[in-house]
């Protein structure tokens, strides 16, 4: 039952916050942070637990089956940490409703990662779009962005739904996630594969389905975009591993070239565009496109080493992108602009803020000693091993460019002469520091001791890796 509380507690708390009339921002922040901290503890305590309740028996078997797998365990922890930090950092108008939406988002994504049933996965997939959509409508800068986010992702969700229905009709059960004995075969499987793939590629996102992403990332308030970019984008990658690779490995193999090409285009395109952006959040948005493209290439390379690296990099990317967006949020709330042209010289008056951005940016550009480096290194090794030399070489270009755009971001905001008409505000406060501390700590710990994450290969992951090695032999 503890594992069920991971999903229910944030959702119930979120609804309670939405309904309450008390507008005290400290109260809502405290409640939100406590709930997120609870989910972190409960996720560790409930590791390996399962809870199941039969939902449908016809036309296919489906259950409310909740429980983490070896892969989703880490994503659940990442989600809890990011939500905790983001809620601590949240300082927006109508705070209570905002924190409520954050908790709803956490609950829905908990459900997504913990779902052991495809139908339940599809349910939470659609559900997790709603809080972001509502926040974009209520707090975003442009209404059109909310629509673009929703329509793109919901269209992807419909493909997911269709594929799930077809999966259920074909296999007779959707209660399959985390099982290693499930294998789909038949003439319809390529369609099912692409149904899932479209949903995952939109969500990740991958070029050319990414056009909702830069707008959404720059328009959403920073605390929420930190969670969306850090964790929601992993929903697609997680689905790709837990569904695509686990149940349809030979189709992943058959379509791998397409996925690799899309991934390479994303990682190059994202990096090149990131260098030219003047909106600080968009720099990070496009850098996400680039980093996630690398993970797609790693997954599609069908190499166990690359897969291991992808899993590490998924966590690392979650940590540093959340940290980046939170710091950019702090900058924006102080200076009321995100334009790199307009900003400058803040580091002189706000040294602690500069230090925070520096760590996050260094993690993003893959500095050894921080978690991002480990992931990139293992992925590149794996891609070489898989014989995709050209892809590995192309993947090196964005790593160089990452230094360029991240340093440009840092310098544009923190260095240079002080801009006279920018307001001088107080430096990073203790609460903001507290909000960043878990992320930075995790980045350093995982960077110095990646062993914690390389012990991934148990349970479901093992099954995926074995299937893959069988497939590539």
């Amino acid at each position: 039952m503890l594992v069920l509380s991971l999903v229910l507690v944030p959702i119930v708390a979120g609804f309670v916050l939405l309904v309450l009339r008390n507008e005290n921002p400290v109260m809502s922040r405290t409640v939100g942070a406590l709930v997120a901290a609870f989910t972190f503890g409960a996720a560790i305590a409930a590791h390996g637990q399962e809870w199941s309740y039969r939902w449908l028996t016809r036309p296919f078997v489906a259950s409310f089956h909740i429980g983490d797998t070896a892969i989703s365990y880490w994503l659940v922890l990442l989600l809890a940490i990011c939500t905790f930090c983001a809620i601590l950092a949240a300082s927006v108008p109508r705070q209570r409703a905002f924190v409520g939406q954050m908790l709803l988002l956490e609950g829905a994504m908990m459900g997504l990662f913990l779902a052991r049933d495809l139908l339940l996965f599809a349910l939470f997939w659609d559900l997790m779009l709603l809080p972001v959509f509502f926040v974009l409508l209520g707090w975003g800068e442009h209404v059109a962005t909310a629509w673009r986010y929703f329509i793109y992702n919901f269209a992807g969700g419909l493909f997911l739904l269709l594929a799930t229905a077809a999966f259920g009709a074909l296999y007779g059960s959707t209660d399959v996630i985390g099982r290693s004995d499930v294998h789909l075969a038949g003439a319809w499987v390529p369609w099912i594969f692409w149904g899932f793939a479209v949903a995952f590629l939109v969500k990740t996102p991958v070029w050319p389905l990414h056009t909702w992403m830069p707008l959404t990332y720059s328009d959403t308030p920073s605390p929420m975009v930190a969670v969306v970019s850090a964790v929601q984008s992993k929903g697609g990658l997680y689905g790709f591993i837990a569904i695509g690779m686990a149940f349809m490995p030979e189709y992943v193999k058959a379509y791998a070239p397409i996925l690799i090409v899309l991934g390479v285009i994303s990682l190059l395109y994202g990096a090149f565009v990131a260098v030219t952006q003047n909106d600080a959040k968009r720099v990070v948005a496009y850098s996400s496109l680039s980093h996630l493209g690398l993970i797609v290439v790693a997954l599609a390379s069908l190499n166990a080493t690359a897969l291991q690296g992808a899993l590490i990099y998924m966590i690392a990317h979650g940590l540093f992108s959340a940290a980046l967006f939170l710091v950019l949020g702090f900058v924006e709330s102080r200076e009321e602009t995100r334009s790199l042209v307009r900003l400058g010289g803040i580091g002189a008056t706000n040294p602690r803020l500069a230090g925070a951005l520096c760590i996050a940016a260094l993690a993003a550009l893959g500095l050894p000693g921080l978690a991002g480096f480990v992931g990139e290194l293992i992925i590149l090794t794996g891609i070489f091993q898989a014989g995709l030399t050209w892809a590995a070489i192309l993947a090196l270009i964005p790593i160089v460019l990452a230094s360029a755009y991240m340093l440009r971001l840092f310098q544009g905001i923190m260095n240079g002469p002080q801009v006279p008409d920018l307001p001088v505000r107080r430096d990073l406060g203790w609460l903001e520091g507290l909000a960043l501390a878990p992320l930075v700590l995790a980045l350093v710990v995982l960077g110095v001791n990646p062993h914690a994450l390389t012990t991934f290969d148990t349970g479901a992951y093992n099954a995926v890796a074995t299937t893959l090695q069988g497939g590539t032999r």
Partner: protein, 476 residues
Amino acid sequence: MTVNVTSADWYALAPISIVAITALVVLLADLFAPKHVNRYLAIVLAVLGIVVAATDCKAAYAHDFAAFGGAFIVGGFSVVFQEIILIAALGSVVLYGAIGKDDRIAGAIALMLWSACGAMLMAGAGSLMTIFLGIELLSLALYCLCGLADRPTAREAAFKYLILSSVASGFMLYGMAMLFGASGSVALADLTNPVLASNPLLWIGGGLFLVGISFKLSLVPFHAWSPDVYEGAPLPVTAFMSVATKAGTLAVFARFVYAAMPSGVADRLLLPIWIVAGISMIAGNVGMLAQHDLKRLLAYSGIAQIGYMLAALAGGTALGMRYAIFYLAAYTFMNLGAFAIAALISDDAEQGSRLANYRGLAQKSPAAAALMTVFLLALAGLPPTAGFLGKILILSTTASAGYVWLGIALIVGTAISLYAYAKIIRAMYQRDEHAHTHAAHPFVPLAWASAIVCCVAVVVLTFVPPALRDVLPLVR
């Protein structure tokens, strides 16, 4: 053929009789009751009658019985449809607590109950005669109900409905005459004779019959009447019409498709219907985009939703029948819920259905806005609502019956519809200082209760879908 009518035959009609008698009681009570209580007296009496009828109706579930020599067939199928119709009547009658002039309530409620009798008759109709009787009883009462508002649009709606619906009835009657000519019997059971498969009368008659059905179901291209009529009719009538006519006609259609055709005919005779259902899903949802009135919008939405239900029936599988009924039940609750909210925020001139009135509703009445959001999300098929589960069930059954293109039409239609529904949600949550929303009626307990019950039902149906066994339509 002589038919021995026993008391069991009359018992089969008991739920319908109870509803019909309740209507009379409502009218009589209105004559003698003091003016200031008659509104609530009428509503309470009607609700009591409906509840009694629903309790009585339940008994026939899993006890199949062909009454009056097969003219009226009770069993799981008829019970489920009758219950849905009774729920529709209940959900619409309570809306009169919020809307309408005191002195006209009783008459309207009585007419609505008689109309429900017609729909309930259709749910169990086992012969062409009973089908027609049910349709006319349903429609005649509705023509009057449509005209019962003080607006010119109401009269226009009633007139439009009368003319167009009569044309449809004409088609249907002509088709029935040909079916009778082919089989020499009005019983649906006699249409299954395999000899008929090569009889052109059956094909023409069946085709005309289906045209009539499509008209009543407001499938594209026979849909043009429904937005106008929905818009013009008083709100409770629209709520009733949107569910009860669809439920009754769907029951007739399902019985015809599942039980009353010679083998080998279904695939070819029904193909146009499936195509039309696919077109309805797309066209209905596209039509929704341009609407500025909730009733019109829900009319177009209904055109699409009936397409989804028909998609479940394509292929004629037992599971398809269950899912069509499940979706119909879900649709009943989400639609009635949406109308209950519309009634809550409307004044007596029923301006509550204009979409402009929903701007900034969340500020005035957060609860109403939240409930409306749930119903709209359910209509769009988003989790965690019954609309989501219903759609996925229909998708899987259509796909496994080999009608993948219908599944794709459903997906495309859903994607389009989303924009229309979300547009209302957005308007409700917009911060608008000049919002001219009427403040919700201070306390309209019945309409609130209806909305809350519908909301609970829409969510609970998702997680505890009812196991609908023995709901295949039969003929005897």
